[in-house]
Symmetry: C2
Subunit: 203 residues, 2 copies
Amino acid sequence: MNTAATTRDPELTRRQILAAALELFVDQGFADVSMRQIAEKSGVTKSLIHHHFGSKDALWEATKEAALSRYVADQMQELEQATTVDGSLLRDGVIKYFRFLQDNPQVVRLLAWTHMEGDATCGEMDAALARLGAERVRQAQQGGVFRSDVNPMHVVTMFVLVCTQWFQARSHHAQWPGMGSDEEFLSDFLAIYMDGLAPPPAD
Amino acid sequence: MNTAATTRDPELTRRQILAAALELFVDQGFADVSMRQIAEKSGVTKSLIHHHFGSKDALWEATKEAALSRYVADQMQELEQATTVDGSLLRDGVIKYFRFLQDNPQVVRLLAWTHMEGDATCGEMDAALARLGAERVRQAQQGGVFRSDVNPMHVVTMFVLVCTQWFQARSHHAQWPGMGSDEEFLSDFLAIYMDGLAPPPAD
DNA sequence: GCATGAACTGGCCGGCCGGTCAATTGCCGC
DNA sequence: GCGGCAATTGACCGGCCGGCCAGTTCATGC
């Protein structure tokens, strides 16, 4: 029958280990996860993890790399395929980013853990992403679509901060009285954000 | 001379333990701090920490309580002493909150750790704060100072998310090209935020 | 068909973990 | 001044930690 199912498959093993490690690290953070937990969850021996990844620290780096490089690639593709530069591009970008975080809570938490570590490596990864976004905003400013008296990178950063923290601290703010749903918050944010970016009325 | 310096002082001991615990927990997170580290840093025995606080978990709760209750009290006082309800009240509130986080990086990180834990307890603590802020916004909306088509709690949440995440993920975004200083970002955020909140021009 | 090396296993290591406990020290009310 | 009790100490516990290593299994190239 299927030979590959019962035989050795180091690539599959690596993927199983990475998947188990991602889930546990995302839930509990690096320090609170033991190699024994990862071994049990992935169905392999603790020694085998060391064989493939070397150490707990190296596995953590590999886990972050695997999860976040895919995320950056996805986002970059979204941004590059956009051609027109107008107000709706930014609006759609915000919505896409919001939906992405909504659909990928693991990425949200993984990013949060790296922030707590002060890890600068993955900041570099999406710096290119941010630069590209800021460039689009700058073009829209020059085209008179947005006000020109604000730093384009700040415009990008502003919505990234809002979306990220909305999902990151969800358990916290969800208890605040009168807080609306994801959709309602996104809608109100966009209303204030987009109107705040409108150029001053011509005088 | 000073008798209190060499003699027993359980209150001082408690404060020393809490101070050391706060610093370590803020830096490394709960899971990565050992009772031995806290003992060494605070200059007391590990057993003594157990005597005063019972367990590592209880010390963690006491540490959060001690640090965050002061923070909430400070903020609440700020908000309550405000009397007039106009646009500059919100603007000043944002600035005060931004400055507070700027001056208290420990609070920023402590809040971040509790978010990662999914701790709901301290969310309750500042729910009253958020409710009061939202009420002020609602009053301003009724007074025609702000647009009325957005949820007041979302208005409050929006600036809290921006300020919090700005400092929380600083090491990350600081690498983005063209990013400005704290002051420049705050200024640009306020410009977009306050203009976005302006009521639609009367027709 | 067999040598080779990677994939994989189980057991073991020293060390640190949070927590306990019996014993000592010093303050304070009587 | 002394009895009692909280504050404080250091030694100790079982258990888990990350990592290592000697040995076994298996695919693959010759």
